[in-house]
Amino acid sequence: MTTEQDLTLLSAYLDNELEGEQLTALRERLLQEPALRRELDALKGTDSLLNDFAASIDGRPLPQAVHGMVAGSGRSSAAKLFAVAAAVFVVTMSTFIMMPKQDDLAFLNAMASGEIRQTETGSVQVIATFRQHDGKYCREYVVPGQHAVACLASGGWQNLVTAEVQVMPEGAFIPASPNVPETIDRYVRLNMSGDVIQGDDEAALISAEWH
């Protein structure tokens, strides 16, 4: 007879939430008690069915409205900024464009995604962190004059793709061309392995100095 306590343990076992002595003890019992194994298999089967059902929505096209909410507005907001900038932007490009050298990328070691820092030349922002298919950690960032993706190699952070951006006097970034952000987006989409790294996972990488 499986008790409620057993079912709680089996459930936590399925969710990888047991550790130490509890985990060892349950594994030993599973080896010795066929009824407990049957319970575990039954719960696994239910989980599997629930996941199959949930995944059945993957085959249904994403509603256009939802797609537009997530994907479309990044470009449109950039386009809006560009339009505004066309009216008010009166500075000389050469004055404001600054292409950072590789050794200027040390800020990528410590900044969290979404964090913005003000520097003498303007705002610096890390947009996202991800891992490439070759295993390298990469970060998308924006500094005055440049929107780029840099990846961590043996010699430090190295830019792999860059796009020039113009800078408005108050420090807001706008794309030099509406196509430029798409170049960055395409690189990220094609090269990112798994999900964006964020929150605790990103903080752990930063504190472990990206090891």
Partner: protein, 174 residues
């Protein structure tokens, strides 16, 4: 939430884009209906795009917003159903287009999906929410505890009860 660091707009949209598939699955497991799931995803995104998400626990918050939106929707439906009952003198059941209609499925798949949707429908909202968070979206008990403001021990026992209830209801349906 107001004291937490939240995603900037561009990062938020990229994050939401990367989580869209998982969010739709979660929504389907909550609602049991593809139409309702996509409506729920849209309502969730509308909410999140205004309030953003905390950078330290975005997924838990995203699912929490989704759950709250669904509970609000259920409340509205209950009010509407009650009004319809009063007007027509008969009970109105909730809309349950539980058969995914735009996906090619085998008859066997369809039977299983009907059964799991019906079994999910018999769960309490608490059980359905917590099971969807853990089984469908893979959140840890600690993440669920934060999202639902519950002790981890409560999460553990509630997940177990939800799992065994779902299995029991599923056995009745199959």
């Amino acid at each position: 939430m107001s004291e937490r660091t939240v995603f900037a707009d561009e990062v938020l949209r990229r994050y939401l884009s990367s989580e869209l598939s998982a969010l739709r699955r979660y929504a389907l497991s909550l609602t049991g209906s593809m139409d309702d799931a996509d409506d729920l995803v849209q309502a969730t995104l509308e909410k999140v795009l205004v309030s953003s998400l905390p950078v330290d626990a975005p997924k838990a918050w995203l699912l929490r917003v989704c759950k709250n939106q669904w509970i609000d929707e259920l409340r509205k439906r209950r009010v509407r159903d009650h009004d319809a009952y009063v007007e027509e003198g008969e009970a109105v059941t909730l809309s349950t287009d539980i058969v995914p209609d735009a996906v090619e499925k085998t008859v066997e798949d369809e039977r299983k999906y009907d059964a799991i949707a019906a079994a999910l429908d018999k769960l309490s909202e608490d059980h359905r929410v917590i099971l969807s968070m853990v089984v469908v979206d893979g959140l840890s008990y600690a993440q669920v505890a934060e999202a639902l403001a519950l002790p981890v021990g409560t999460v553990m026992s509630r997940v177990a009860r939800a799992r065994t209830s779902l299995r029991k209801h599923l056995n009745e349906e199959l």
